[in-house]
């Protein structure tokens, strides 16, 4: 059985890695693509008597609807916390998630969402002229506040992105811990890029490449539909791949969850180490009890830790330097830089024809040199932003290594502080919980 299980794990790992790479492969090239905003079909080029309807933009959400959204979010978070921590019912949490999927996903079409609100907050931090709308701020901060108090109850029962993946989860297989650990770095990179692009007022990449919004809106480009479908198909066998390995907001929630006050406990009393819950978590968020410490492994752990701590500044510096090198390339996604490069290519005859942005720029009568100077300033900001992006990723890798070098002390099976999504599945596997329910039922 063991070789077969090992082979199955390897296959799963390879599939997961392949899907993750495919996701990255779709996201990164798409980041440089420009939206054309062209109509779906060109209008007729001859007189036919047909009057083309005017292109209209949807009006902004009414304040009442936005307030209602925030109120629903607050209520849902409170209910989720109550269901997870007090009622401890997986079924109730699942129904809440379904309701939130229907409301925030299909009814409100996935917007506003806390994941995307991260970019608004980032932009507001770096651009004094931008004010975050109150409802967006509420969407960003409320889940974080609840996570600080109750763990990741937002992920459990409120987030529509998580809920739609849970709907598709059919036969969860365990992803090897090392692979899971490595893939989680993608979320840090994604968060860093999203903040960089938002802070430089380049693009809201999280919104642009949100994989499930096409399903929520029942409309979308083929590439985004394919990306969403790939993640959902992967999600049939791997619990919430987007949440675990890509969600940028999940990184922040992970930090908050790590220091949360009242978080999920698998057992309502004390762990009897029956091991029944070990395979219950489809997200690999249950950590096992640790063996007793010995003087030998304590020394080894200290040495490892000292080595990593010593290497940490070098790692951060190197990553910062590399990020700085990466900055100019990342800057090409900024509209000003893209316009400057296109204009230069047109002027030098390197491309044929024109595009709307260059045409619009020429109409302004501004000299190209002014645009180049502006683009150079943008690139300079990306130079600095790239350094910070590198530092962020260097810290993410380094501190994770530091975390993994320590010798934790766990007496029983526990839900990982930052990775547990508070879905409440593990409760049903705990015999202590079973006893509690029986007693409560009797009462």
């Amino acid at each position: 059985m063991k070789p077969i299980r090992f082979a199955a794990r390897i296959a799963t790992a390879l599939a997961a890695a392949g899907c993750a790479l495919a996701v990255v492969g779709v996201l990164l090239p798409a980041a440089w693509a420009q939206d054309t905003g062209a109509p779906r079909v060109r209008p007729p080029e001859f007189e036919s008597g047909h009057e083309l309807p005017l292109t209209t933009s949807p009006p902004p959400s009414a304040p009442l609807a936005e307030t209602l959204d925030a109120a629903v979010l607050l209520t849902a978070l409170a209910v989720a916390a109550w269901l997870v921590l007090r009622v401890r019912s997986r079924r109730a949490v699942a129904w809440l998630a379904a309701a939130c999927l229907a409301y925030f996903g299909f009814w409100r079409e996935g917007c506003v969402c806390p994941v995307g609100a991260t970019q608004n907050v980032a932009l507001a931090l770096f651009d004094p002229g931008y004010a975050v709308p109150l409802v967006v701020a509420a969407f960003f901060f409320l889940p974080l506040v609840f996570t600080l108090a109750f763990g990741r109850v937002f992920c459990a029962g409120v987030c529509p992105l998580g809920a739609i993946q849970d709907v598709f989860l059919l036969r969860p297989v365990r992803v090897p811990a090392w692979l899971d650990e490595g893939l989680r770095l993608l979320a840090y990179a994604y968060l860093g890029l999203a903040v960089l692009y938002a802070a430089t007022d380049s693009a809201f990449v999280i919104c642009r490449y949100e994989p499930f919004v096409s399903f929520f809106r029942l409309s979308g480009g083929a590439k985004m539909l394919a990306l969403g479908a790939c993640i959902l198909v992967l999600g049939m066998f791997v619990g919430r791949p987007y949440c675990r390995w890509l969600c940028p907001y999940g990184v922040l929630l992970g930090f908050a969850g790590f220091v949360s006050r009242w978080r999920v406990s698998i057992t309502p009393d004390r762990c009897v180490q029956c091991r029944l819950c070990e395979d219950s978590c489809p997200y690999g968020a249950i950590v096992l009890p640790t063996p007793a410490r010995t003087a030998e492994n304590r020394v080894a752990a200290r040495r490892r830790l000292a080595g990593v701590l010593a290497a940490l500044p070098l790692l951060v510096l190197a990553a910062g330097w590399l990020g700085g090198r990466l900055g100019p390339t990342l800057a090409r996604a900024h509209p000003t830089l893209a316009l400057a490069e296109r204009l230069r290519a047109e002027d030098r005859g390197e491309v044929r024809g024109t595009v709307d942005p260059t045409v619009a720029f020429r109409r302004t009568g501004k000299p190209a040199a002014a645009l180049y100077a502006e683009a150079a300033a943008v690139r300079e900001r990306f130079d600095r932003g790239g350094v910070w992006l590198g530092v962020w990723l260097g810290l993410a890798v380094g501190l994770r290594l530091v975390f993994l070098c320590r010798l934790p002390r766990r007496a029983g099976h526990e839900a990982d502080r930052s990775r547990c999504l508070a879905c409440a599945r593990c409760f049903d596997y705990c015999p202590t919980e079973y006893e509690r329910r029986k007693a409560a039922f009797a009462v």
Binding site: R40, V41, R42, E45, F46, S48, S89, R90, V167, F168, L169, L170, P176, A177, W178, L179, E181, G182, L185, L186, A222, Q273, R275, L276, S280, L288, T290, P291, L322, R325, L326, P328, R332, A340, E341, R344, D347, G349, T354, R362, R363, P367, A368, A369, Y372, A373, E374, A375, A376, R379, G390, L393, V397, L401, C405, R425, D428, Y429, Y434, F441
Partner: protein, 579 residues
């Protein structure tokens, strides 16, 4: 309450089998629907229907035969057919998507009912000992994190250093400022060296070289480098840039731009102006003016032509039509004849029409590359046939226009009016010329005026230097060589005035009607009659004829001076005179 206790909820085998069958059926339907949607999406006609080869071929056919109604009809039918096909496919895709959604929902429900999320209890290994492999797991995790970090670093390096060489030095471009502008727009030297607009770079009619031919004969071919037949009539003048020469020509039904090899006279291309979607009766105009009286302009890479219909069209050097604009119909009794001017990336078109109070007259700046309107200014003037000129000096560039009753200067980048000078009257056709900060313009109903270029607001009272009344033209533009101003009246009277005072220095009757404006190369003045006779006169304070040459063909267009040659447009042919 007993959620999760496998013993409490044993699955009924029969029910489970039923759910499994349902799941299998729904899954099959979902798969079929998915395949249907994908195949329809990827299939022929899924993209923009107007990008299909058939449609583009039909468009090309229309470009070749723009007046062919059968081609237009076939395009309409093809367009309708392609659109129907496109929307049929979209409807199929939507249907496939709806079926897929329903089938997928049934599939997911059925699978979950057959195998609920509360899975059976896990296999617990014998003995309840927790495996003591924390160290190994942590080591693997550390390796994974380090490996992922290295992979990210490798990917970042590949992206950063792979694209670095292709990144332009924007800092330098931004600092240098003028460099990209000079690259994009012809420099002042380029403009002087070539003959890219009516009467040359600044509309002065003065060649950029001094030794021009003095003898030729169109009938015998003496002194004529080449002669090329023109496909359609036109009164516009040729323009030249490097090795190419362009002329516009046309009639009521067809307008074209023709490009010739300046060295050999071989026609390189002729491109019709295709105004798709425009049905407009041709304007009623004077036959003498014709439909192609406006001289085109070029920046060396593109050529822009205007026609009496109000059409303006841009072409690239290879004759591909880049854009068209329709400003017609124009309210102009004789036919629109103002030539185009060029300033940096903008083409300036003066559409003076009707009467001043009608508010129809306007100066339009179009982007050379796209034809889009950069700015447009309504002008309080009557219809005119004058061409705008660009005055470049240290105080800043300005576009000077002449029409009754105002000379108006505009800022070329915005169309903002800089100054105006009033008092002009009549049906003005001669264009102004500039020299040493002065502007000269003349018309038989007004006078020869010398004014200082510049100022703000109405400068009528302050900027007029002098006026003169001898030998006033009604068609030909004046020419100023510095100390003197030359006027050529339509009846062939040539007048020379002192540019400082306006005093007449000499007058000479040529005895033939003239429409072409005079030109100057070095110290030689070239004056051509409508019959094609050219007088070569020494530019000086006294009449001194150096020679006389005959083209053997009627000439209404002004000369183009480039490459040491003179390019002349006759009634039916184009001539290159010189070596």
């Amino acid at each position: 309450m007993t959620d999760g206790n496998p013993e409490a909820l044993p699955l009924d085998d029969e029910i489970a089998r039923g759910w499994k069958r349902t799941a299998a059926g729904a899954g099959a339907v979902a798969l079929l629907a998915l395949l249907l949607a994908v195949s329809v999406h990827l299939g022929k006609g899924g993209a923009d229907p107007l990008d299909t080869p058939a449609y583009q071929a039909a468009e090309q056919a229309l470009v070749r035969a723009p007046g062919d109604e059968s081609v237009k009809q076939s395009i309409r039918e093809l367009d309708l057919q392609l659109r129907r096909e496109y929307f049929r496919r979209r409807a199929l895709t939507r249907l496939g998507g709806a079926v897929l959604a329903v089938a997928l929902t049934v599939f997911l429900v059925a699978v979950k009912r057959a195998r609920p999320l509360r899975a059976p209890a896990p296999d617990v290994p014998e003995g309840l000992e927790v495996p003591n492999d924390h160290g190994r797991g942590a080591r693997a995790a550390r390796c994974a994190v380090a490996g992922a970090g290295l992979l990210l670093a490798a990917a970042a390096s590949a992206i950063a250093f792979g694209a670095r060489d292709r990144l332009p030095d924007l800092e330098a471009l931004g600092r240098q400022g003028a460099a990209p502008v000079a690259e994009r727009f012809p420099s002042a030297d380029d403009l002087r060296r070539h003959w890219g607009s009516f009467r040359g770079a600044d509309g002065s009619g003065i060649a950029g070289f001094v030794e021009a031919p003095v003898a030729w004969n169109g009938a015998t071919g003496e002194g004529v480098l080449w002669r090329a037949e023109l496909p359609l009539p036109g009164a516009s003048s040729p323009i030249v840039w490097e090795d190419r020469l362009w002329v516009s020509c046309g009639d009521a039904g067809r307008q074209e731009v023709c490009c010739f090899d300046a060295a050999s006279g071989r026609m390189l291309w002729r491109s019709p102006v295709v105004m798709v979607g425009t049905k407009m009766a041709p304007p009623e105009i004077e036959e003498e003016t014709g439909f192609a009286a406006c001289t085109p302009v070029t920046d060396g890479r593109r050529v822009v032509a205007a026609f009496a219909h109000g059409f303006v069209a841009g072409f690239d050097r290879d004759g591909t039509q880049l854009w068209t604009r329709n400003f017609g119909p124009l309210d102009n009794a004789y036919g629109h004849a103002s030539s185009l001017a060029i300033w940096r990336g903008l083409v300036l078109a003066q559409f003076d029409q009707g009467h001043a109070q009608d508010g129809k007259s306007r100066l339009v700046a179009l982007e050379v590359a796209t034809g889009r309107t950069a700015w447009e200014t309504v002008r309080p003037v009557d219809a005119s046939w004058c061409s705008p000129i660009v005055v470049r000096d240290e105080a800043g560039d300005q576009v000077v226009t002449v029409a009754s009753p105002w000379v108006i200067a505009y800022a070329p980048e915005s169309g903002r009016e800089l100054w105006r000078l009033g008092g002009l009257k009549g049906e003005l056709a001669p264009s102004p010329v500039q020299r040493d900060g002065r502007l000269y313009f003349a018309h038989q109903d007004t006078a020869l005026w010398a004014i200082r270029a510049g100022g703000t607001g109405d400068v009528t009272a302050s900027h007029v230097l002098w006026k003169a009344a001898d030998g006033l033209p009604d068609v030909c533009s004046p020419l100023c060589d510095g100390p003197r101003v030359y006027l050529l009246a339509s009846d062939g009277e040539l007048t020379c005035c002192d540019s400082a005072t306006g005093k007449t220095l000499w007058q000479q009757e040529l005895g033939e009607a003239c429409y072409a404006s005079p030109g100057l190369a070095g110290a030689r003045l070239y004056v051509t009659s409508r019959k094609g006779v050219t007088w070569i006169i020494e530019a000086g304070p006294a009449w001194h004829e150096l020679g006389r040459a005959e083209l053997g063909e009627e000439v209404d267009a002004s000369f183009a001076f480039a490459h040491g040659r003179i390019y002349v447009r006759g009634r039916r042919h184009l001539f290159a005179i010189g070596r």
